[in-house]
């Protein structure tokens, strides 16, 4: 009798362990939207250009009306109501990872449609683009310059300054020349390496201390 009890207890204990581990594994919280590429893959994807489309090209596609591009307005519904680019649909940037939109995006991706993101400025669209890229969508483009830039760019199609395109990271000034024009001794300042920044060693968090 005693022997049997011991066996039972052992069995019950191991079954309990198994059940606890199993439920733990099953209910393990997984983020809703998974990253499709590692951080290093993302960095490499950033290096490839061609993810930006010019306002003029967007306009051409709209005029052709061939449905090859789908415009997405990332601004708030209020701003969208006031004015937006013709056929654009409104998905506020905060909502781009909602389930219904994601399903829609993968649907369009299967149909080889390209979506063009624009926001109030290029940085906003770029943020959304990076999130979607990391979530595994490769069928998105960023419109250069943002919403405010579209109308002047399209209206002044022949303007040489505009047709050269807009590049968010293009210097607006020759920084050195501007500094020199204000009498700064630039040449020496630029040649000399900037002061080395002292790197303060991270203080290790002390492990549990104390005790008697």
């Amino acid at each position: 009798m005693k022997e049997l009890n011991r066996t039972d207890r052992l069995t019950i204990a191991s079954i309990l362990v198994a059940v606890i581990l199993f439920t733990g594994l099953v209910t393990l919280k997984q983020p809703e939207v998974q990253y499709a590429c590692t951080i290093d893959e993302t960095v490499n994807k950033l290096g490839a250009s061609g993810d930006v489309i010019s306002a003029v090209d967007v306009n051409k596609a709209l005029l052709n009306n061939d449905g090859s591009l789908i415009l997405v307005d990332l601004r708030s519904p209020d701003e969208y109501q006031k004015s937006h680019i013709g056929p654009a649909i409104n998905i506020p940037i905060q909502e781009i990872l909602e389930k219904q939109h994601l399903e829609n995006f993968s649907d369009l991706s299967r149909k080889n449609k390209t979506l063009v993101l624009y926001g109030k400025d290029q940085t906003e669209a770029n943020g959304a683009w990076m999130i979607l890229k990391q979530a595994g969508f490769d069928n998105f483009l960023v419109m250069e310059g943002g919403y405010g830039y579209f109308a002047p760019a399209v209206n002044e199609n022949n303007n040489s300054a505009v047709s050269q395109g807009y590049y968010a990271e293009k210097p607006a000034y020759n920084f050195k020349e501007v500094l020199e024009s204000f009498g700064a001794p630039v040449s020496s300042q630029a040649a000399a390496n900037p002061e080395p920044v002292k790197v303060i060693k991270k203080v290790k968090k002390s492990a549990a201390e104390g005790g008697c």
Partner: protein
């Protein structure tokens, strides 16, 4: 062998198999995509050039500028005291370690703010705190400090103060005599201190 051990052994071996078959965990504990999106859309990631200039002039030791442009562009011109970490390098372990130092605000800048924002998003995914993007980048830095025109006679006090501050910054960075460069009021950016992880304390 004792029969009573068979059931637990079978169970544990089965569990061991399940554990082996589980997908490999990612090396970093990354910020989930939805939380990353929240961070990306918050406006607190931007810091104005005026705020950066103010801290630079005060030689604030808790701020380090990070130039995410290429090495060539950095050599040609960079803000005083800036570190150069090109975008392609930024998620390398050494840089991650550097950027996760506590008590230091890292301010990313590039020519505009798209490149800096990209670097910022990458770092945020790796759960780096205390990083900011300089709004408008060097282009805005130059347009506010070097290209701003004096305000009209009828301008509000704030506008005049802002202009005076900008002129003072310009003089500071071009080697002119320094006026008192005081940042215009009403632009306080609150920086929430990181919660200290308390080490497990022992005792009796």
């Amino acid at each position: 062998m004792n029969k009573k051990y068979i059931i637990p052994v079978v169970l544990l071996v089965g569990l061991a198999f399940i554990l082996v078959l589980l997908p490999k965990k990612k090396p970093y504990n990354e910020l989930p995509a939805k939380d990353l999106l929240k961070q990306v859309t918050s406006s607190s990631k931007f810091i104005s050039p005026e705020f950066v200039a103010d801290r630079l002039i005060k030689k604030d030791p808790s701020m380090i500028l990070v130039d995410v442009r290429s090495e060539d562009l950095f050599r040609e011109y960079s803000l005083p005291g800036a570190l150069n970490i090109p975008l392609q390098e930024i998620v390398k372990p050494a840089q991650m370690e550097l950027l996760s130092q506590e008590g230091i605000d890292y301010i990313f800048y590039s020519t505009g703010d798209v490149l800096a924002d990209q670097a910022w998003i990458l770092c945020k995914r790796q759960r780096i705190d205390h990083i900011y993007v300089m709004k408008g980048g060097l282009n805005e830095w130059f347009s506010s400090f070097f290209m701003s025109l004096p305000p009209a006679e009828t301008a509000s006090n704030e506008e005049i103060e802002l202009y005076q501050f900008r002129s003072a910054v310009r003089q500071y960075f071009t080697g002119g005599e320094t006026q008192t460069a005081r940042k215009p009021a009403g632009e306080a950016i609150s920086i929430t201190p990181k919660k200290k992880k308390s080490a497990a304390e022992g005792g009796c």
